[in-house]
């Protein structure tokens, strides 16, 4: 039993987080970066739990969450906070040191000439950042915690700046440190060093691409999975079967194929036969980890096989001669070129059969979702006791451990990168992005209400990016959108950035719900999207509204009439009188959203353009 009179708070934070996770070229980089930091944090909370009571995060079913947040809160005996902090720091540093040494040993087998060891040691030693404070738990619990949070913010004002001055070729993944090299550090010598690593039989294209040259930190990110590296008790998982960007983008397409297997199965299997054994991901030894798709597979003959093929093989441009080397992970032969034509043909036939089942080709875009609870600091600062604080932590833990994976991976075809407390990072095919983000924020509010925090909401940022667009840049866009949802839209909101392949970026957003409106925003958009998808409404309505929005902005009273006129004009299903109710109803709902103080007419036009994009998917 904790004696509340003689306790103090220890708030502990590990970094760097955003810059490390964001140095990602592929989904596997995002995943392993997140996993590595989370495992280091788990080492910290485990050690802290031996010396005190961890208030946040809490264990679920006797184990720490899959994603342990990088900031944790511990209650310790008065006067012991500093020594607990130092012990926790040492535990994390030791775990990191052991992991780095393990990967170094493995990498040494790939690059035996070890003049890179000194740079490795310097980069590994300087990498982790720790910030901790100790604050007395006296008086009002919530106020004491609030002050403790301010103290940690004050400590983090004196940010760690690594004393780095490294000459030479830069790491091609993070750009923050120099790339490892052999005895010579000239441009050609460094390239040859890494070419030598790449040629090792054990090294796959997933671990090291053509012309990549990495620093020690990014080398650990790439090779930790292969090298059987533990952090604490956790083995870092090999990353080959984490879905690629193409697999995430194509997941919705695969789901529709499985749902219409009777019509599509034969052409799917014919295509898989055409590419069987051709290169990495065709197929993988294990199917893609997707509970949603698994459910759809059921007993379908050959359905499971579909999940073993990378999404790359469902885009026709992958079979273009100039892309074969990247697809196959080796220099293509004449036979490969011939096979690529057969593969392109089989894919064309698959698309045609899918079209007959009203399934559009896969969108080349995927989405990244970043979600964060609103005003969590204030809510925690109003805790009346440690017990209540732990109840909130418990609610957050269940949200992160149960709700988020269930929604993202069982109800939709996404993958969770990180879910710690109220912070979520997930990948989703674009057709599932909006409903999944809506489901997550609703569930979050429900969980918090059950923990006696009935008014807590969440804000989300969505970024849509092409599957070949740098993933780190898409993630930055998602975080930026999340920030816009909070500061630009005033929280309890969703902001979206659509990074078109043409280079233009569209930005829109909305509150989840506007006071005085009967319908939630996304429900209205869902209904509208349905009309667009079914072809009941032409997507050209979006362009017409965009063109007129500037003028309509000045005459709110005319907006509903004009929206109704445009919907009527672009309604495809006849006779129109039969659908008059739907048209009028939709116009009323859209006009309500278009009013000043809500989405506004110009942003509404942006929404229609987005929905049109989601429906058509910007096929290449």
């Amino acid at each position: 039993m904790v004696d509340e009179v003689q306790q103090e708070f220890l708030l502990f934070s590990i970094g760097p987080v955003q810059s490390y996770i964001g140095a990602a070229r592929r989904t596997q980089d995002l995943w392993l970066g997140s996993q590595l930091l989370s495992n280091l944090a788990e080492v910290g909370v485990s050690r802290a739990n031996e010396l005190g009571t961890v208030i946040y995060p809490v264990q679920v079913d006797g184990r720490w969450p899959q994603s342990v947040p990088n900031r944790f809160v511990v209650s310790v005996n008065n006067g012991s906070g500093a020594s607990v902090a130092k012990t926790v720091t040492e535990a994390i540093q030791m775990a990191w040191g052991l992991a780095a040494a393990k990967v170094q040993s493995y990498f040494g087998q790939l690059a035996p000439e070890n003049s890179w060891s000194l740079d490795w040691h310097k980069q590994v030693t300087n990498w982790l950042e720790f910030y901790w404070i100790v604050w007395p738990r006296q008086g009002d619990y919530g106020n004491a915690y609030r002050q403790a949070s301010l103290a940690l913010d004050a400590r983090k004002q004196m940010r760690h700046i690594p004393m780095v001055a490294e000459p030479g070729e830069t790491c091609s993944l993070c750009g923050m440190r120099k790339a490892l090299h052999g005895r010579q550090n000239g441009t050609r010598a460094v390239a040859q060093f890494w070419a030598g690593v790449r040629e090792q039989p054990r090294v796959t294209g997933a671990e090291l691409r053509q012309n990549e040259q990495l620093c020690a930190i990014c080398t650990i990110k790439r090779f930790a999975g292969r090298s059987q590296t533990y952090i604490g008790r956790n083995l870092l998982q090999p990353t080959e079967r984490f879905p690629s960007t193409s697999s995430v983008a194509a997941a919705g397409f695969k789901a529709k194929l499985l749902a219409a297997w009777t019509e599509t199965g034969s052409s799917v299997l014919a295509h898989l036969d055409a590419i069987q054994g051709w290169g990495p991901g065709a197929p993988y030894s294990e199917p893609e980890l997707s509970p949603f798709l698994d459910k759809l597979v059921g007993e379908k003959e050959g359905g499971k096989r579909l999940l073993k093929f990378d999404g790359d093989f469902f885009y026709p441009e992958s079979f273009a001669e100039g892309h074969l080397e990247e697809l196959l992970g080796r220099v293509p032969t004449i036979e490969d070129v011939q096979r690529s034509r057969r593969a392109a043909d089989s894919l064309r036939r698959l698309y045609k059969q899918a079209e007959q089942a009203q399934i559009a080709p896969p969108s080349p875009y995927l989405s990244i979702l970043a979600m964060d609870g609103d005003r969590m600091g204030r809510a925690l600062g109003q805790s009346r006791s440690l017990t209540q604080h732990q109840q909130i932590s418990n609610a957050l833990a269940h949200f992160a451990e149960e709700d988020v994976p269930h929604i993202v991976q069982h109800e939709f075809t996404g993958r969770v990168i990180y879910a710690g407390g109220d912070d979520v990072l997930a990948l989703l095919p674009i057709e599932h992005a909006l409903p999944a983000s809506n489901a997550l924020r609703l569930r979050f509010s429900q969980r918090m209400a059950a923990a006696e925090l009935p008014h807590l909401t969440a804000s989300s940022g969505l970024a849509f990016g092409h599957r070949t667009f740098p993933l780190g840049a898409t993630m930055i866009a998602a975080r930026r959108a999340e920030g816009e949802a909070k500061s630009g839209l005033g929280r309890n909101a969703l902001a979206i950035e659509l990074i078109r392949r043409s280079g233009a970026t569209d930005r829109i957003g909305t509150k989840w719900h506007y006071t005085g409106l009967e319908n939630e925003t996304l429900d209205v958009m869902d209904e509208l999207f349905d009309y667009l998808l079914k072809g009941a409404l032409s997507g050209k309505v979006a362009y017409d509204l965009e063109r007129e929005a500037v003028a309509l902005q000045g005459i709110p009273s005319a907006q509903e009439d004009e929206i109704r006129r445009l919907l009527t004009r672009h309604w495809q299903e006849k006779p129109l009188d039969t659908y008059k109710l739907q048209v009028v109803g939709m116009a009323t709902k859209l006009a309500a959203l278009a009013q000043p103080g809500r989405i506004g007419i110009r942003r509404l036009a942006g929404w229609l353009l987005l929905l049109r994009f989601l429906g058509r998917g910007e096929r290449e």
């Binding site: 004002q157 004196m158 940010r159 691409r209 740098p470």
Partner: protein, 392 residues
């Protein structure tokens, strides 16, 4: 004293250290303002270009004219000699804007400024607090935390700037306003595609996006240069700057037309106020051999500031990593500049002192990494403004 003001003809591009991804799409961001390293190259190249000295002779310092120029702006390293800066000295670059009869400096928002979470236009400045004492892994001894008594504050997001006048108000602990970067410049992403020269056509899927900076009308970069340097430059002209060698107009500007924060903004003169609690705000990035401060701590600071000072607190921004390419290195073959972690502009340091602190107007407080051949203090790094502070 002379200033050079650069204005864009169209857009500029100053790549940051984001790696260009090999194969497939790439996004390259611009750093704005550019690093002092970039601008020193521009100014020295301008002088070289306006002279009659052959560039190869300049690099080798093989003629009398080249050596004379080398005495003025220094020269690159060669087999026979190390790189030098000669008499070259600059401060900046500073973001600036023409405002009627003057050119106003703009400073990045200091890192110790927060905003009200609900009323986001309301700004607060953190202050060192003696009342809030707690155990922590402080990065140095005897530091005090920065604190705010305001409820519900948060860091500002995006890029925010202070005009010279608002910077003065901030340094004097008076109310001040901010300016969003979008008023001063826009960031434009432009799509490009790699060319396959074997077929003289676009390479497939090799798209890239480069971020360009479009300064608003009247907005540009202001650089202070030593008199000897200013004398070697025409009053106005054009030059190439940054990625893709984009065009810029330049003109020299007399000091009387520039609004630049004086050393002690609490007074009209440059003498030090009393009591001596000095707040130092970086206006350009700085390098310290201890990362966020000199390794020697207060001894190091005292050396840099020319008076005995004690560091009380600090508010440091995210490290700015910069490297680049030295085109003259290795006998003209070129070589990477070292990747260095700088303390970014906007970082704030709080000192107490019992001595007069009277640095020259463009005195720099940066150190220079041993891997760096040229002294950073002469290249524009470590410029700062001084104000005062009070305990919370």
């Amino acid at each position: 004293m002379s200033w050079i003001f650069l204005e864009a003809d169209d857009v500029w591009c100053f790549r940051d250290n984001t790696p260009k991804l090999v194969g497939g799409s790439t996004v390259m961001h611009s750093l704005f303002p550019p690093t002092p390293s970039t601008i020193q190259g521009v100014v020295r190249s301008l002088i070289l270009g306006e002279s009659d000295v052959d560039w190869a002779a300049y690099r080798q310092q093989s003629t009398a004219a080249a050596q004379q120029l080398g005495t003025l702006i220094g020269h690159p390293a060669s087999n026979e000699q190390e790189a030098t800066l000669g008499q070259f000295s600059m401060a900046g670059p500073f973001l600036a804007r023409r405002e009627v009869d003057e050119i106003m400096i703009y400073a990045p928002m200091p890192n110790d400024v927060k905003r009200n979470k609900e009323q986001m236009e309301q700004l607060f400045t953190m202050q060192p607090s003696r009342a809030h004492h707690f155990d922590s892994n402080w990065p140095a001894e005897a530091l005090s935390p920065l604190w705010l008594n305001a409820e519900e504050s948060e860091s500002l997001d995006g890029e925010q700037w202070l005009s010279g006048r608002n910077l003065r108000a901030y340094l004097q602990s008076n109310a001040f306003g901010k300016l969003d970067a979008s008023v001063l410049y826009a960031r434009e992403s432009r799509l490009g595609i790699e060319i396959d020269y074997t077929v003289r056509n676009a390479a497939e899927r090799m798209l890239y996006q480069t971020e360009f900076i479009r300064p608003s009308p009247g907005v540009g970069l202001l650089i202070w240069v030593a008199n000897a340097i200013a004398s070697a430059i025409s009053d106005q002209g054009t030059l190439r700057i940054g990625g893709e060698g984009r065009n810029a107009y330049y003109c020299t500007v007399p000091d009387t037309e520039v609004i630049y924060p004086t050393r002690f903004s609490s007074q009209q003169s440059t003498s030090q106020p009393s009591p001596s609690r000095l707040k130092l705000v970086l206006l350009t990035p700085a390098f310290f051999d201890g990362g966020w401060q000199p390794k020697a701590g207060d001894v190091g600071w005292s050396e840099l500031l020319g008076a005995s000072v004690s560091l009380v607190s600090a508010s440091i921004g995210h490290p700015q990593r910069a490297g680049g390419w030295d085109i003259a290195a290795r006998n003209g073959r070129g070589w990477h500049k070292p990747i260095v972690s700088y303390v970014p502009a906007g970082s704030v340091y709080y000192f107490e002192t019992t001595e007069a602190v009277e640095p020259d107007r463009f005195h720099s407080i940066t150190q220079t990494p041993t891997e760096q051949p040229l002294p950073l203090d002469a290249l524009g790094y470590g410029q700062f403004a001084l104000g005062t502070w009070e305990w919370l």
